[in-house]
Symmetry: C2
Subunit: 211 residues, 2 copies
DNA sequence: CGAAAAATGGATTGTCAAATCCACTTTTTG
DNA sequence: CAAAAAGTGGATTTGACAATCCATTTTTCG
């Protein structure tokens, strides 16, 4: 799934997606953004269609005009969060130790603003939906794949520049970094305290950087 | 919450819990164990009280005789999983490199048997309930705390025996190891593939062990 | 401009699962 | 052994929420 196509048509529906007017596009976007916010803050199951309608200021017919059902809305939310996160990671400049540390700061700060509440905007969706909605699980997996690739690119640069400790494989480190981040965010989420996230990231970065 | 008291009374209810006959104890235990299995395999929200009744072979009145509502059942499940996991970790003998590696093997094998499905029996509950049920979130946090302590004890032993690379803090490593494990399990869960889990654990262990 | 497509409003329906209730049986214990 | 407590059975109620329906307005484009 390329990151270029705004709202890519669902797999298996290519071409069937009705064209949207600018107004429709805005309405649809508002629904997705509000749904994303609500689902992040309060969980997917807890967020009702009625909540989304109220937050986005739309009626039933509008919402069901853009999404066949709640599952389809959830999938749009996953794509939305994945695009945001992957984009931010790609633009972070992880190819230098300074860029990597700055990225770490952004992640920790963002989590701290909410005291960990909501967890990772992508990972928490995965945890909630993995056993409930196979399509959603696949989309989260895809998002993690793109995210991991973005991290890998940065770590490869660091490796090529000799800023990683000798003997380390940047590809493996990327997966491990993503895992530490996800676990750290989960621990922070249930503790309502970003301490474990900070510890996990800082400990890991200290283990791999050679300065 | 000591791991000794089988089914500890809920916080704030100490002493109020009615005494159970052996038969009642068995029925209650069966309900919790079946609920734990169902919720791990299919998610908490997806698991209905009716599912639990059917799996445990009990009626409504029995289930509501032991648990005030679904929330209370969920909390019993959290305690059950936490006790299991922490117990296993304490008994794993993480104080030697061989013990640590054997523990790693058990974790990976268990995940592989289900192709990652269900994720961590404790962590996945945290991810699903953190924004839905404050008491559940606290109990998962408590479970993570005990788990982290068990890991820390092992890593301190390794540290004292000089089996960790110099300059490392075993307490920080324990938190980071737990985070890597949780993240690895989440990645494995959404990908239905234990590759990321293996990578995360092996990469991390290679970074900290000095042999 | 004017027909067709897109977008919107809001009342209504249908389903499903949590929780209640009352009657009955078994086990404990003084 | 008998009274009290614990445990069991299953029908019923209640409420919430996803999804449908039909009517109306707005926008697009030939």
């Amino acid at each position: 799934m390329a990151s270029g196509d705004q709202y890519a048509s669902e797999p298996g529906r290519a071409g069937l997606t009705a064209r949207l007017t600018p107004k429709g596009e805005r309405t649809r976007g508002r629904i997705v953004a509000e749904a994303a916010r609500l689902m992040h803050d309060g969980g997917v199951a807890e967020t009702t269609i009625e909540d989304v309608k109220a937050a986005a200021g739309v009626s039933s017919s509008q919402l069901y005009h853009y999404f066949a059902d709640k599952e389809e809305l959830v999938q749009a939310v996953i794509g939305y969060q994945a695009d945001l996160i992957v984009g931010n990671t790609e633009r972070a400049g992880l190819g230098t130790p300074e860029g990597l540390r700055a990225w770490r700061d952004v992640v920790v700060t963002q989590a701290a603003l909410a005291s960990g509440q909501g967890g990772c905007p992508l990972g928490s969706l995965g945890g909630q939906l993995a056993e409930t909605d196979a399509a959603a699980r696949g989309q989260v997996a895809d998002g993690f794949g793109r995210w991991s690739d973005a991290l890998r690119d940065g770590l490869r640069e660091l490796h090529a520049a000799g800023r990683l400790r000798p003997g380390l494989d940047p590809d493996d480190l990327a997966v491990t970094l993503l895992a530490s981040l996800q676990g750290g965010l989960l621990l922070a989420q249930v503790r309502r305290d970003t301490g474990p996230l900070t510890t996990a990231l800082d400990t890991f970065l200290a283990l791999i950087l050679n300065d």
